[in-house]
Amino acid sequence: MAAPARSAEAEARLAGLQLPQSGAWLHLARGAAVSRLRAMGLPVKRDEYWKYTDPTPLTVAAVPVAQVIPGETEGFDGIDCLRLVFVDGVFDAAASDNPALAGVEISRLAEAATQDIHWAHEVYGVLEARGQTPVARPLAALNSALATDGVLIRVVGKVSKPVALVYHQTSTASDAILHHCVKVEDGAELTLLESGPAGARSNTVMEVQVADGAAFHHVRTQGRDHERRTLTHVFARMGNASRFKSFTLTANGALTRNEVVLELIGADGVAHVAGAALGNGMFHHDDTVFITHQGTGCESRQVFKKVLRNGATGVFQGKILVKQSAQKTDGYQISQSLLLDDDSQFLCKPELEIYADDVKCSHGSTSGAIDDTALFYLRSRGVPEREAQSLLVLAFLAEAIAEIDDATIAEAIQARLESWLAAGAH
């Protein structure tokens, strides 16, 4: 039950925003999302799910100012991909590539009103609504209600190159609410990249339906925009023998919360979610993952690594729910932090809830300092202290980066990470 004060906040937030003009189906979906939001109210710090992260900067009507970082190169510079550019949360057709690409249909959400995109009816707001139980995610409902733009991507074959969502921030007060829907049809395969700051504050929802035998790869970078307040949700629903892989590289950011809500519905699905984060100073990074095993014989794997210093905070909330039907589940979860000084902290809440009897589930969490003996060994071979520390940081993050399947993309991520380390981002 939502406390009256929270509903009042939700009303205040809704009052300040206009429900975008949409076609009939989208209008209905948005209306339903508004009702969900009204019923839940906005999240507050005393909510159990927001215990470690204060949602206020994400819920207040006035956007907290965020300076624009000039001259940052795009996250996947040099990788051949189809670029779709969003500036402060609005699609920029002129800056984007022609979205015609074999095996994939791409439409812009803001234009979905005039095109009746049938498949999206079963995805838009639908996966998000499913993700509201057992834990409420009001800001995702807010997103479904008020999203100003986004893309609808249907994949019917093997796409020759990745699709990249490239975000640019030009305003210090932009409030980007982006909503993307992806449907990967039977046996199809897509790699989706995301990079850059979507806005001064951003709320991004991605709903992904992965059909039988289909594969979805997702690699994302969240860069050095120090004052960013970002909330992302990925809702995924997976069919038989489907594959889902998501990796996120994060550096800095005043507030970043990445939620992944994933349901393994069919049998023999494989879902991996990984993240590597570097936080220095004013940094609060929260990975919140909820994986539900429903089908039999599925594998899920979570690998989250954070390197923290100068008062940075890392949060991990990860849950594996294994339903009674999900026999032969293989669930693995590891969350680790490397604390480079005594000022930083790592808050961790791993959870396993298992109703099936024939399952293999494990989780682990550690928090530790850099290995002084290893550091000395490296230095005794002539490697300067900073460089030696970077090598050890990279080594610590390697298990997460190894979750990226595509070698070229993994190299790009590695290079970006190395350049951030060289620039002192950690």
């Binding site: 071979r381 090598l391 390697a398």
Partner: protein, 251 residues
Amino acid sequence: MLEIKNLHVKLEEEDKVILKGVNLTVETGKVHAIMGPNGSGKSTLSYVLSGRDGYTVTAGSAKLDGQELLEMEPEARAAAGLFLAFQYPVEIPGVGNMTFLRTAVNAQRKARGEEEMSAGEFLKVIREQAKTLKIDADMLKRPVNVGFSGGEKKRNEILQMAMLEPKMCILDETDSGLDVDAMKLVAEGVNALRSEGRSFLVITHYQRLLDHIKPDVVHIMADGRIVKTGGPELALEVENNGYADILAEVL
């Protein structure tokens, strides 16, 4: 030339004195050996020379070719030509052996203002060196020392030494844990590196290594000091009679 004068060292954290006035000079191009009972301070000496944290130098100096080592960062000592083969080589999960060595070689070259080694050249040299030490390609790719057997770790130390081409090599019990063949291999590796411009300080408990690596001078360390210095025959004396006689004589 390495010149250690009146070196006094205590532990940083507690008032325990370990080195109590070490005097030792290793001339350029020479091989010196240090023997001595367990706990006499041999490893401490090698750590202090290479700049490990946790020790406080209360007196004395250690100069390499006139440069005061004790004031330098560990990486600067390495660039100046000092190398320590660890008694217990360190495992570094996640850092590839090859990456590690290339980073080290080029960091030292950079520090000395020399040109960095290209990837191709490095690969060629390391393959050759690895072959002579019977280190297979797989070991080069694996993380530093992770899952290596005791003997493999020691051979890996010698490989690093060969790649880094130091002027002053300190070998801390590189023979321990080696089988007879591996010991010959390591000794051959060391002998191949012996040259006019390179000195060695070989810490060992056994004469056996010194059969292969013939030392010019042998020192006995006890209770934080060099208590006796002699020729190769001193090592034989220790091998036959232990330390009792020597210690009785000097105390």
